[in-house]
Structure formats: structure tokens, C-alpha cells
Symmetry: C2
Subunit: 304 residues, 2 copies
């Protein structure tokens, strides 16, 4: 580890040298802020959401928008859309709120029957590396995986040795609750990460998407007082009015969002703006960033 | 990074081999859960809090207990105790609640006069490495620093090359808000980390302690809708009834807590129990852990 520390120090020195070389002679380059990077973006730096793979979770406090990840968990996503379209989630509640961990919904008392065709699903915890996976790799390493970065707007980890790629448990990621049996997660119970990235769950649970907007409606709920943050009988869980597939919602009622593309020079500049934040406040730049600290920018779609 | 991935894989294989060698012939060792490790702890594995360096933040919803870190930020801690004993914080509010980032309190409208002797403080963002610093080093590296681990119950990062050590911005850590001037943080404005570890703040802000109990009372508040999570005029911030130094509180009203020591075989076993969680659920053990995922256990002090 001494060695690894020395490597880091050397890399930091090289980075400093590059920044100095790329700037005006004798002047350090001005570090850009993320708002400055985004202000300089073009329309092509953004992508719309696919309504067929977007969920709206309607709470009394507002709407949570989830982008599903069919490329990583196709069977679970199919199940979740079947459950959603059958109205399975409507009238259920947030049943678990564990501090620095997850918010979770489901039907532990089996009040709603499972629609036909929903059962156990193959454990989609990781995937074989496809031959041409889009991958914007981060330069600063990771404690848990050999490589980390972004693929189609999602935080991923991968191992060439294992020939595998998997979604990473960053803040706002959406997973499927299961019992001890790895194939027991149908999608009827889902959780959202609301704390420090619980990366030990990677490759042990199916991640199915990411909250694009409204995660604060889930993260700000009172914590449950039973074990693992479940609510007790006397605590009032927040009801879920409905979950819908965006494609089933009239266009005028849809959220009009777009997400930054993660395979562009603009996204590379965004990463750099977070590795080395503006010097007005950050006197000692981190000069590195971990996967779950990179923001995947979302905005209201501007009128064209 | 290929090389580093290979090193990780080799280390993982060595670890597996060690686990197998240390167990009954032909059987893999059972992985212990954290509750099992803690149940096997002795009284000597725990330490009391020093009432002179413990703060009670009394909210309408309950008490937040903060352990101060005078070893790392002595001038800031002195300031904070002076402010606290002058009653400066009593009647102020949580003024900022930014999702996945911080909860913050202070007096931006200068309603309370600063007590005598409170002013700018030297920027205690890191310290020179003392000759004999207690340090339980984590084996799995870190994205941001050459070395990370625990010192007297606090998550720290260090660099032998820089001859420096600093507190790390993990969930629940308490810092001192400042303006652009690095010496502008007096301690009159404080924040608590309530999201994924914002490690880019390391060495740029003074960390002064850690929430030992009650962080969920801060993390579950409604998010502020103004920029950076500040509350607007129409949002009702949660009032702070009082902040007191525990030593000034009658013994019968004190929280009776103790914290696990971080320099013992029990704590090493706790780390291991989180690197390789029980196989009943975790089919693919992480075999590694990052600094901010290690829980620093706290419990009610048992009757002796």
C-alpha cells in the first residue's frame, strides 16, 4: 500500500504538470465549476428518457422518477413493468426507512395478489461483458472493483478478469429486495439507496435502475424504529398513490426531463470539474473522484 | 489499472486461502456477522465518552450526541465549547438541509451576538503526523488518500509523503462551515454529513467531531428548496432548543453511551465481518471495504 500511495502521489504530480502545461505560460488553468460546464453544453450532450423504461412513483409529497435499466436486468425490469401495469403497487406504502441505507416499498403482508406470470427470476446480479459496451472509465480507481465508470448514464463496475460488468450501489440506485435465496426477488419489493454507497451489495442484489428526480422525497422520511429500519405497527408509513410506466401517462402529465450523456467530452469535463473543484473555495483539490460522487446531471427539457 | 485489478484478484485469492487454512480441515470458516462480533466483545473493548468533549444538540425530536475531536481541531473545539457555554446556539435553527450532502445550523442573520473571544481561527484542515499516532489501517485502499483507517474512534486519512493526517468526511462527521477565506470558520456555523461521503471536502474544511447518536434526526428533515439546500423564508426550519457540553448537564440527564475502541482485535474482527459478510445472504463477499462503510459501534453503557 505504500507503493500504491507513491503511485497516487506520482499520478497527482503528473496531473498537476499537465494542468500547468495546458495553461497560459506561468499561469495555472482556471478550474471550471460544474454549472460552468453545463452552461457550455449543447443539446446533443443530453438525451431524453425512454417513456417505456421510466417509472413515476406518485407520493402524497410529489413524484419520484426512476429510469429503468433493461440492459442490465431485463427479466426484473419486465417483471416490474408487469407489476406496475397491473396496478400492483398502487396503495402500498414505504415500509422501510433505514438511516444511511435504503428506503423500501413492498407488500410484506400480502395484501395485493401478485399478477399472473410474476414469480422467481434469475439472479441478474452481474452480466457478461458485451463486446462493445459504452464505458466512460474513471481514472482514480475504486476500493471494490478493478474498474469503474459510466455506461449509458449508469454507474458501473467491471472486471476484465471475470469478464463481467455490474451496476454499482450508488446513492439513488434502485434495487430489488430478496430473501436469502438469490432467485427470490420478483420485483414486488424495491429499495432506493439513501446513504453512503453500500457497495457490498454489488453482485448480491439485482439493481434495476436509478432515481432521476425526487430522491429527496424518499431520503427525508422518518426512519423506521424496528430492526433494519422497518416501520412498526404504530408508525404511519407514507402511502404510494401509484406507480406508472411513463408511456402509460398522458403526455401532458409526463415529467419533461433529460439526462446528460455519459460518453461525451462534456461529461468528461464534468468529471474533471468535480475532481478539481474551483479554487475559490477548494484550496486543496482532491485531484480524484470516486464513482458515487460523480453527479449525473438531469434538467428540465428546454423548449426547442 | 489492469495491474491493480490483478493485484486485487491475487489478494482476494490469498484471503480465501487464509480463511480456508484457518478453518477445520476441508471446511470454509463461517463468516461472522457484526452482531456476533459485538456479542463476543468484552467491557475492555468499549470506552466511555469524555463529557468535556461531548455535545448534546437538543431538538424537538430528540437528542443528537456529538463527540468532539480536540486532537485534530483544538482551536475550533475550544471555540465551539465557548460558543456552546455562552448559550450561543440555543434558539437557532437547522438552516440548511441539502440532500445527499449536509445538514447545517448557524445564525446567518446575526441574531445572536458572538461571545467575546470568538473570531477567525487557524485553518485546522490537517495535522502533522504525530510520532505515535494510534492507527488501525484498512487493507483495501482508498480513492482519495494513500492510507485510511481509524484513530481514536475517528475515520482518518494520512499521507506519509506529506507527513500529514486528516479527518475524513464520512457520514455523520461534523464540520465547521466557512466562507471562501480558509480562516473564516469560527465554529458558529456547523454541518453534519448526511449523504455519500463528500471526500473532496477533506483538507478544505475543519472537521471537529462525529455524531455518535441521533444522526437520523438530522438526515430525515425536509430538504431546503433554496440553492445548496438552504431553507427559504416560507419553509419552517427545525429549531435547536439548546446545545450543551455534556459535562455541564446533570449526570442523571446525560446519555449513557460507550463507543467501541478502534485499536483492538475486536474492532479488527468487526472490520472483517463487514469485508466478508455472512454467506447466508452475501453469496459474493466484497472481500474489501471502504473507510466510510465501517460502522463505529455505539451502545448504551451496561450496568456494571
Amino acid at each position: 500500500m505504500q507503493y500504491s500511495g507513491m503511485i497516487r502521489d506520482i499520478r497527482f504530480l503528473i496531473l498537476c504538470a499537465l494542468i500547468i502545461l495546458s495553461s497560459q505560460p506561468g499561469l495555472a488553468a482556471k478550474r471550471l465549476s460544474m454549472p460552468e460546464v453545463l452552461a457550455a453544453s449543447s443539446a446533443a450532450d443530453w438525451r431524453p428518457l425512454d417513456p417505456e423504461n421510466t417509472l413515476y412513483v406518485e407520493l402524497p409529497t410529489g413524484r419520484v422518477v426512476i429510469e429503468l435499466a433493461p440492459a442490465f436486468a431485463p427479466l426484473h425490469v419486465t417483471n416490474i413493468k408487469t407489476l406496475t401495469r397491473a396496478g400492483y403497487f398502487n396503495g402500498l406504502s414505504i415500509i422501510r426507512e433505514q438511516d444511511n441505507y435504503v428506503a423500501q416499498w413492498g407488500d410484506p403482508e400480502n395484501r395485493h395478489p401478485l399478477p399472473a406470470g410474476i414469480g422467481k427470476v434469475k439472479a441478474e446480479f452481474d452480466s457478461s461483458l458485451p463486446p462493445h459496451m459504452p464505458f466512460t472509465r474513471l481514472p482514480d480507481g475504486d476500493v471494490y472493483a478493478p474498474q469503474v465508470g459510466f455506461s449509458d448514464g449508469l454507474p458501473v463496475a467491471r472486471s476484465d478478469a471475470l469478464h463481467k460488468v455490474w451496476l454499482a450501489h450508488c446513492y439513488g440506485m434502485v434495487g430489488v429486495g430478496r430473501d436469502l435465496d438469490p432467485e427470490s426477488g420478483s420485483g414486488a419489493e424495491m429499495y432506493v439507496v439513501i446513504g453512503h454507497a453500500p457497495r457490498h451489495l454489488d453482485r448480491n442484489v439485482a439493481l434495476v435502475g436509478r432515481v432521476i428526480k425526487g430522491v429527496e422525497l424518499l431520503s427525508s422520511l422518518p426512519r423506521g424504529s424496528a430492526e433494519m429500519g422497518f416501520y412498526t405497527k404504530t408508525e404511519k408509513p407514507l402511502p404510494i398513490q401509484s406507480i406508472r410506466v411513463a408511456a402509460d401517462v398522458p403526455a401532458a402529465q409526463r415529467s419533461n426531463l433529460e439526462v446528460i450523456r455519459t460518453d461525451t467530452p462534456t461529461f468528461a469535463a464534468l468529471i474533471e470539474s468535480r475532481r478539481n473543484r474551483p479554487e475559490d473555495f477548494f484550496k486543496v483539490p482532491a485531484a480524484r473522484i470516486d464513482l458515487c460522487n460523480v453527479p449525473i446531471a438531469v434538467r428540465e427539457r428546454p423548449a426547442r
